[in-house]
């Protein structure tokens, strides 16, 4: 999901505002008050239900950790983006894309995808570690990024979010094929169940921690510009994300598995809830959530 386009917020501006503010604005903008239709998935889809989960921040961190393990996906980001200077602005752009494709009407979703595809055509080069050429249009890379995200969302929401049973988790993965398709992955290639998704991720040969990936994840785990208290909360979240990684990914990074009590559902939900509480304090967030809820109930 990284590397779609350059962040447009200067680091100076970014540090003046809270890390959550761009996320909040992206969320507010992504949920239209007046949609023309139900969008790609519709209010009764599992995608709608899952994507409003409050554990999304945790899923985002885990997503980035998996996605960065493909050297070519990582190279595209590292060589074509200055995201390190404004990680939260960058995260907000990605979140805005995911949320627009989810909750926007069809025109908004397709427009967002078209803009990202247009940026991707210019993202090409050669990875210095493997020596392989890459192109952001490459369905293989897009599929990897998609799978890393969907696997993370399913895993995190089932473990720490609102109830999502195994059948609905599979339905979610299947519904999300459409999400991959509009960015350029042939629908037939997209795994359509939780098990197939995991199998696919483990089948990809080219998985390793390049220096670019190590650097990127270090920034994700310790982003600049946080005050001390927020940083500690963020560190805790990072530890939980590390604990949720598949063993292969965690050992590639050389992370130590966190103590089991840190990973228990209750304290993790409290941590997520505390961060979400601050997030909800931004104008527009609660209203956007209500718009989603009301449409799901209609």
């Amino acid at each position: 999901m990284m590397g779609r386009y350059r962040g447009d917020v200067s680091p100076e501006a970014a540090s003046q505002i809270s890390m959550m503010e761009p996320l909040a604005r992206a969320f507010e903008r992504s949920v239209p008050p007046d949609p023309k239709d139900g969008g790609l998935f519709g209010p009764h889809s599992v995608v709608w239900r899952v994507h409003r989960d409050r554990s999304f921040s945790l899923a985002a961190i885990r997503s980035l950790m998996i996605q960065a393990l493909h050297p070519l996906a990582m190279a595209g980001v590292a060589q074509h983006s200055n995201w390190q200077r404004d990680p939260f602005g960058r995260l907000a752009a990605t979140a805005g894309y995911v949320l627009t494709v989810t909750y926007g009407d069809t025109a908004a979703a397709e427009g967002a995808a078209a803009r990202v595809r247009a940026v991707h055509t210019h993202v090409r080069g050669t990875d210095t570690v493997t020596g392989l050429p890459y192109h952001a249009d490459d369905p293989n890379l897009l599929l990897w990024v998609h799978a890393g995200m969907v696997d993370s969302i399913v895993h995190i929401v089932r473990r720490y979010g609102r109830s999502l049973d195994a059948a609905d988790a599979d339905r979610y993965v299947a519904e999300m094929a459409r999400f991959a398709e509009i960015i350029g992955v042939p629908a037939t290639r997209v795994p359509a169940s939780v098990a197939a998704l995991r199998e696919y991720l483990e089948s990809v040969e080219l998985r390793q921690v390049t220096p670019a990936a190590a650097e990127a994840i270090a920034i994700v785990l310790d982003p600049p510009g946080l005050d001390d208290d927020t940083r500690e909360l963020w560190h805790d979240l990072g530890q939980v994300a590390i604990g949720t990684l598949p063993d292969w990914a965690r050992s590639m990074y050389g992370f130590i598995e966190p103590l089991p009590h840190l990973m228990e559902r209750e304290p993790v939900r409290q941590l997520i809830g505390a961060l979400d509480f601050a997030y909800e304090s931004f104008p527009g967030v609660l209203e956007a959530r209500e718009r989603i809820e009301l449409r799901m109930r209609a």
Partner: protein, 468 residues
Amino acid sequence: MSTARRRSPVLQSRLSRSAALARLALRIGGRYLARSPRLIFASVERRGELRHELALRTADDVAEELGSMKGALMKLGQMASYIDEDMPPTFRAAMARLQHNAPPMSPALASSVIADELGDVPERIFARWDPLPFAAASIGQVHRAITLDGRAVAVKVQYPGIARTITSDVRNVALLRRVAAAAFPGLDTRSLIDELGERLREEVDYRLEAENQELFARYYEGHPVIRVPHVVGELSTARVLTGELVVGTRFDDVLQWNQRERNLAAETINRFVSRSLYRLHAFNGDPHPGNYLFHGQGRVSFLDFGLTKHFSDEDLAPLADAVRFLVIENDGDGFRASIERAGFLRPGAPVPTDVVVDRFGLFYATVLRDAPMTITPAYASAIVRRFFDSRGPLAPYSDVPRAYVVLQRINLGLYAVLGSLNATANWRRIAEEIWPFVNAPPSTPIGEAEARWERERKGQELSLDRSA
């Protein structure tokens, strides 16, 4: 290390925090107020303000909305708002913006709580049951009902599962401390969080509230102008609180009454506050206009005893001394010693006593002189400003000890209410009737009636004592 860095002159991070915090404060304050029991006995038509279309339908919905620290943080924000000078100005706007954010339980979910707690569905427990709540409460909502023996009651129903999750949240002190430190820099969050834990543990158990409400109801039984609805014990549990339904005029409408009526209402509220504190040694710490219902000629009903503070003789003694030294004996040194003893002012602060008297004296302005005085909105806001004054000469040496946090809320809330009523009275004379160290004779018609009531009360107690 963390503290040092926090205080480092990095303006940017300070700015970023205060901007975010202003919004956080807005959200916290507003969200809490929207859910609080202030509107408990609001009229039925105000039901429309509850967001039934967003009703919580399952315990899972409840956990999502109020669990995982959210309920605890809302409460923390509310408490901080009384001791953090940055909060109050944002309050009104926040309330207006967020008033609608209080999703009630769906009728089925509320019914399931009644069934769990009282043993059967509300339609069989009560002769009549209104499935739609008419007011939100901080961790529940309030329904109208008629009991099988024909009494009109208000039934407060707690959100299912909330007691467990709040109890667990409050135990996660480490996380609360960090969040509180991020949200309210410069505040003594340790004592705040201790207080929060205590308050929430009390609040989730409605039996405590029932006990407190009944204490007030019994004490004020037969009072000429003060009324506290009784609890219906057999229909109350830890999660359901059933009390007599009171119907009356709401505060907003009382503001349209003539000044004579408003003065009488204000006198009763003032008497209730003083009497509860000095005679009952207990106080309902929520002097919010929504907790009063008015019936004309000074008669007022007092509702919501979810935040009741009991004062020991030791708590009360320095406060009573402070009043006595300042107002009756005109002894500045004695006054200063009392507030030092209470912990409001650090002993030995390098500030002259006449400055101490002048700064703290504002809080006693209504009782300083034996003459009628009008409590204006301007006076009420001057009190609030002085209370939150972080730049005045006493600021570095003053503090609100934990034992008195509730008392401060009472005071600030009381002045706001009396100020809105623009009430005039000889507050000093009224206070002297109630101060145990003066025990003056009645000074107003309400005072006369109250004195008669008190004689009868004492007579009853004596006869009870004799018969025992």
